[in-house]
């Protein structure tokens, strides 16, 4: 029985002549891939060496981890349940007020940074660089700075989240505003409106759903940030978490982590429902 393979092998030379592309092995791509992998591995080895990794330390650390995880069960709040719940409420308050304040501060900046609202290139360039700088500073760094300004406590956390969100929101809002349709603006202008009227009646109705869903999205992610902001002393559940870790109360640590996980899951669920209700399921918020 003559199989396809035997026929093909018999005609190999002719096939090769007719379809040279298929027979050509592409060594270029493979060599490049091998080179990239070798370079990455070499960099990794160098990094392990420079950062003082040692198998011994890793092994003893793993034993420690096993011990810690073992003593985490059963998770229990001990006598501090009320304190922890209060800290959790504080965390949510920090995330909520921080996001809101950041959005309120960012909206005028977003307008200033939008090319179609402020035609002056220097104005929006300057605003954008300021926003980039604000965004480049991590929320924990803002927290440390605001602790110096308003003292330890949740208020510093609110201001830290507001500051770092202001940078992100300013950029996102300005992009949303730049993507608006020009025609409603022209329509409002044709009735003799001022430029502030066009913002109110032509721009805001177009960008509001996008902005609202971005704010909700950031509220979700800020709930996570707010849980760790307490580690540096800016209020919320992170303070208790780092305290309990330092005093090796692993049951309470496990309970706190579980509290955080449940809260984050609930907030994610609620806010994604709200987001879909605002913008519809099909539209996706791009970062």
């Amino acid at each position: 029985m003559s199989t396809l393979r035997e026929t093909a092998l018999a005609n190999a030379a002719a096939l090769r002549r007719r379809q040279p592309d298929l027979f050509e092995r592409r060594h270029g791509g493979q060599a490049l891939a091998a080179g990239v992998i070798v370079a990455m591995a070499a960099l990794a080895v160098f990094a392990f060496w420079r950062l003082d990794f040692s198998v011994l330390r890793f092994g003893s650390g793993l034993a420690q981890i096993a011990h810690i995880v073992g003593s985490m069960f059963p998770p229990s709040p001990g006598p501090h349940l009320r304190v922890f719940l209060h800290a959790l409420a504080e965390t949510l308050a920090i995330a909520f007020l921080g996001t809101l304040l950041g959005a309120i501060l960012a909206f005028p900046l977003g307008l200033l940074a939008a090319r179609n609202i402020i035609p002056n290139i220097f104005a929006h360039f300057a605003v954008r660089r300021v926003l980039d700088t604000v965004r480049g500073v991590d929320v924990l760094i803002w927290a440390l700075i605001f602790i110096n300004v308003v003292g330890l406590g949740p208020f510093a956390g609110i201001l830290a989240i507001a500051a770092s969100d202001m940078g992100s929101f300013g950029k996102l809002f300005s992009e949303a505003i730049e993507n608006t349709d020009r025609k409603p603006v022209d329509g409002v202008l044709s009735t003799g409106a001022s430029s502030l009227h066009t913002v109110r009646f032509a721009v805001i109705p177009q960008v509001f759903p996008v902005i609202a869903s971005q704010i909700l999205y950031y509220f979700e992610s800020n709930t996570r940030s707010a849980t760790i902001i307490g580690i540096v002393g800016a209020g919320g559940i992170g303070l208790h978490l780092s305290e309990q870790i330092r005093v090796l109360e692993w049951n309470k640590v496990a309970f706190l982590v579980l509290m955080i996980l449940v809260t984050v899951a609930i907030i994610d669920w609620v806010s994604s429902r709200l987001r879909f209700a605002i913008i519809g399921r099909s539209a996706v918020v791009l970062q």
């Binding site: 950062l51 330390r57 308050a93």
Partner: protein, 293 residues
Amino acid sequence: MASAVIRLPAEQLDRALGHYRGAVAAKRARTAVGLAVLAVAVVLAGIAGEVDLQKFLANIHRLPVYIWTLLPSLSWNNLGADLADWFWNLGGWLSLLFDTLLIAYLGTLVGGIGAFALCFLASANLERRAWVRILSRRFLEFCRTVPELVFALLFVMAFGLGAMPGVLALAIHSTGALGKLFAEAVENIDMSQVEGTTATGAGWATSIRFAVLPQVMSNFASYALLRFEINVRSAAVMGFVGAGGIGTDLMVAIRKFYYTDVSAILVLIIATVVIIDLATERLRHWLIGWEHA
């Protein structure tokens, strides 16, 4: 131009205007309810967050003063010496920044490898056993929901101070975040290629190598580069809990009010982040172009 404004009969106009007013009133009522809910939430959050507006107003002037004192005293005719004074520890800080970048790199690399190993088990089109899929998905979810700083705190207790806990914390978080993205990329592939390799008698590993990887590799690389950007920012604050990098120096400078040191380190961190962002963006565009070529 002949123009005649068509007017509706009075009763029709009244009805239309009535509908319009009703619609506007309903919308206003919805907005008012929304604002009221928001206001109640703000008040409740204000109470829980111990917002004290009086204290805030009494202290708000300190923020501009603080930022002003962060700025170094630079003068034109003595710029070189002033800059040298501002960045007095440039060598040490650059070395710490380099460590920070290495922490981010190792965290991304180890996390990427972990995500790569798990993503095929978490994707619905390649893994038929529901329990494996659910288990790996829940694991990835856990890895990315626990904040990396919490992992870092735990690991500092277990492994001791230094870069190692930072790398491991970033690696675990990256495994969770990248694993989800990788699995989504795998779920979006064209399955006919997998069917093709399976038809030739290829096993699981061979199918993945020749049918799945060529479709997802550029996506994976692009996601890993994005994660590296994020990890550089995170690695810069890992030092706050003693997990290596430049964060320790920054925290000491902020806590001890070494004002110009704070601004110098912040300038270096922001510059590094911007350079890394630009470089990875170039690399990602090049990857995308390479894929489409």
